[in-house]
């Protein structure tokens, strides 16, 4: 009897110890790996995240159908971060502590996702952003954070200036950005690039909630630049393009990828096709949205979300950005081996370098640079058609640790 009890106890102890060891990584079981996703799924920023999440989810689903990663299926928990810092932090807390996910794959809004940096570092949980630029959390780099799968804001600014100087032959460049951190990031590289190409910048920084753009546009017109670069979000873009036309300013306008969330609505809001005689769009995918080389993504979307695809306005513009992020997570998990830990995963991430077949440039990380994508192409937009301008325009800015 004694022996029996002793043996049972020993067995239970061993089993518990084994179970504990096997599950010492949260979010991991023999058969599944739990990923916490968050993005704006509702509200006026949903165009930045709703379909991006759908794209990532469909990619994860495809991987699951093919057998998962080392026999583990990906299990997703999704939270709506409404594109603001407080909701994002609450979402991240819930995913990490309540749902106990293995890693976080979320964030479409740069400002808010940067706010999660301190928490992520305290909890030592990996964060792989979705499509946020998130420069503030990438420079200086953090061991736990990877991002800029769409493009870093630094690269946005630098590339725009390069395009203006090289293709549009501009010497005096008007620059409209936001007066927040986000705007500061793209401006920093824009100024760097301007110095490099010998051009001057005329900067007007505006509040993201601005309703009347008369003042900044008047000042731009008074400065009389050769080109106007706009790196604001979508709503101010409509107001600016409209006001430029009203003020009779018809030099080239280049709109950063930040502001192209809903082009159909942009055209409608501006209300005048003439306003688009000299407009260019920045694009960070390797082809025009809906173009030949991206067909596989849109076909996959139609297959997974037939109801959504039938609705007007879907898939949303940024949908394909979810793919490179999910690809990175999957590739790193595969490289982390059959007994992954968060440390092994992060180590694998720091060495990734692959062609996503979606983005204009490779997804490449180094131990000191956790921003994935830095290339952009440009399209001439007349309100209806997009025509690719040949060439790729790169930003020269690199991170210099202070």
């Amino acid at each position: 009897m004694n022996t029996f009890i002793k043996t049972t106890l020993a067995a239970v102890a061993a089993a518990t110890a084994l179970a504990a060891a096997a599950q010492s990584e949260p979010g991991l079981t023999d058969k599944s790996i739990r990923i916490g996703m968050f993005s704006p799924l509702s509200g006026n920023s949903m165009a930045y995240g709703f379909d991006v999440v759908n794209a990532a989810k469909m990619y994860y689903d495809k991987v699951n159908k093919e057998g998962g990663i080392h026999g583990r299926k990906i299990d997703i928990v999704l939270e709506d971060d409404r594109c603001n810092a407080n909701d994002l932090l609450a979402a991240v807390k819930k995913l990490t502590e309540q749902d106990k996910v293995f890693l976080l794959n979320g964030g479409s809004c740069s400002g808010p996702v940067v706010g999660a940096r301190e928490y992520v570092e305290r909890e030592k949980i990996p964060l792989v952003m979705l499509n946020a630029s998130g420069d503030g959390a990438l420079y200086p780099p953090s061991k736990y954070i990877y991002g800029a799968f769409s493009i870093s804001q630094r690269a946005v600014g630098g590339s725009m200036v390069q395009f203006a100087a090289e293709h549009l032959k501009a010497k005096k460049i008007g620059y409209l950005n936001h007066d927040d951190a986000y705007g500061g990031w793209n401006l920093e590289a824009a100024e760097f690039q301007a110095k490099k190409v010998g051009a001057t910048l005329q900067v007007q920084s505006i509040n993201p909630n601005i309703t009347d753009v008369t003042a900044p546009m008047l000042k731009i017109r008074a400065a009389n630049p050769d080109v106007l670069l706009v790196t604001t979000y979508a709503r101010p873009v409509s107001l600016l393009v409209k006001k430029a036309h009203e003020l009779g300013w018809n030099k080239p306008i280049v709109i950063a990828v930040n502001g192209t969330a809903d082009l159909k609505q942009l055209v409608e809001n501006v209300g005048n096709k003439d306003a688009f005689k000299n407009v260019y769009l920045q694009e960070v995918m390797l082809d025009v949205p809906g173009g030949e080389q991206l067909k596989w993504v849109y076909d996959m979307y139609k297959q997974y979300y037939p109801d959504l695809a039938a609705k007007p306005g879907y898939p949303q513009t940024y949908m394909p950005y979810g793919i490179p992020s999910a690809m990175a997570v999957v590739n790193a998990l595969k490289a982390a081996g059959p007994q992954p830990t968060r440390e092994k995963f992060l180590d694998a991430m720091s060495k990734l370098n692959f062609d996503s077949k979606v983005m204009a440039g490779p997804i490449a990380f180094t131990p000191t640079d956790h921003a994935a994508q830095k290339a952009a192409i440009y399209l001439k937009f007349d309100g209806e058609n997009k025509n690719r301008v040949p060439g790729s325009y790169a930003s020269a800015w690199t991170y210099q640790p202070k």
């Binding site: 603001n84 106990k100 400002g111 706010g115």
Partner: protein
């Protein structure tokens, strides 16, 4: 006066028991929600003092909350003192600013006081968003873990007992104030400036004091918040938050400490439960506000008119004795 074992005491004991058991049974996320509720309670108590006790409709509460957060956060990042110091500093700075604003605003009456304090609150949020060198502006500010003599608070579980303790302390202070002569004087001023002055109460000074105390409470609530939060963004430091606290106090019952606490917990829970369903949250808040104002405008725990009626008489007797 003998302390009777009332329903209030029972409720507090039950609450205390629950709070003690929680850390062993729930996740860190739930503890985060509880910590948040405690902050709401202190905010609501502060608003109770100025609106419930003194009857001054001040809408600048969140400004002082923000000052408390940034002050505590900055001091902690710069010097890492025991967090009690950072929190007290936040409360003190808020109190000082509360004095200044009170001095300017309390000359006005009712609607003008409300509008002036509202404008101040909004202007303060603009300062938080634009004073980049101090608050880091719209990038938000990172908070470092709070310290207390070698103990570092890095998550909600570790901050929990301290957050509860501070909230309990502030509750005790509120009740003590309410039951003191000061509280009676405040309520006398609330009922009628002129009558209070006729009894020798300096109405202006009382209102000023109430304003300062409520600002201090809000500042301390801000300090509490920094104990368990890793990042603050000024987005949440605007009029919306003031309205939320106002809702807690009004629906709980203007003039009632119980009401403020109950309102804080109820609305705090609703806001967290419905975080993912914002439109439902808004419609629900609106419906609750409309419903209460239409059918039970004095709130759940209607403030004790009896106490207010009794107090001036007592005070008068004591006043004449002095």
């Amino acid at each position: 006066m003998k302390k009777r074992f009332s329903l209030d005491h029972l409720a507090l004991l039950v609450l205390l028991a629950v709070l003690c058991v929680l850390p062993f049974t729930v996740t860190g996320y739930v503890l985060y929600v509880v910590n948040l509720l405690m902050v709401f309670v202190v905010l609501a108590l502060g608003m109770h003092v100025v609106i419930g006790e003194a009857g001054q409709f001040a809408l600048s509460h969140t400004a002082f909350y923000g000052i408390g957060i940034y002050t505590a956060g900055l001091i902690n990042t710069a010097w890492h003192p025991p967090f009690v110091v950072s929190i007290l500093a936040g409360g003190l700075l808020s109190a000082v600013l509360g004095y200044v604003i009170g001095f300017l605003a309390l000359r006005m009456r009712d609607i003008y006081l409300a509008l002036a304090t509202f404008a101040f609150g909004e202007a303060m949020q603009w300062v938080f968003l634009n004073w980049e060198s101090v608050t880091n502006g719209s990038n938000g500010m990172r908070m470092q873990p709070a310290q207390l003599f070698g103990l570092t608070l890095t998550n909600d579980l570790q901050a929990y007992p301290f957050v509860i303790a501070i909230a309990a302390l502030m509750l005790w202070v509120t009740v003590w104030l309410s039951r003191s002569q000061f509280g009676s004087a405040l309520r006398a001023v609330r009922e009628s400036d002129v009558a209070a002055m006729a009894m020798g109460i300096n109405a202006r000074a009382m209102k000023q004091a109430a304003f300062v105390i409520s600002a201090a409470f809000a500042g301390i609530a801000g300090g509490m918040y920094t104990l368990f939060i890793s990042f603050i963004h000024p987005e949440s430091l605007g009029f919306q938050t003031t309205i939320l606290i106002l809702t807690m106090v009004v629906v709980g019952g203007i003039g009632s400490v119980r009401g403020a606490v109950a309102g804080a917990i109820a609305f705090g829970i609703i806001s967290e439960l419905l975080r993912q369903a914002l439109s439902i949250q808004e419609i629900l808040y609106g419906a609750i506000l409309l419903g209460f104002m239409m059918f039970k405008p004095r709130g759940l725990f209607a403030g004790s008119k009896k106490r207010a009626a009794k107090a001036p008489a007592t005070h008068a007797r004591q006043g004449s004795a002095a």
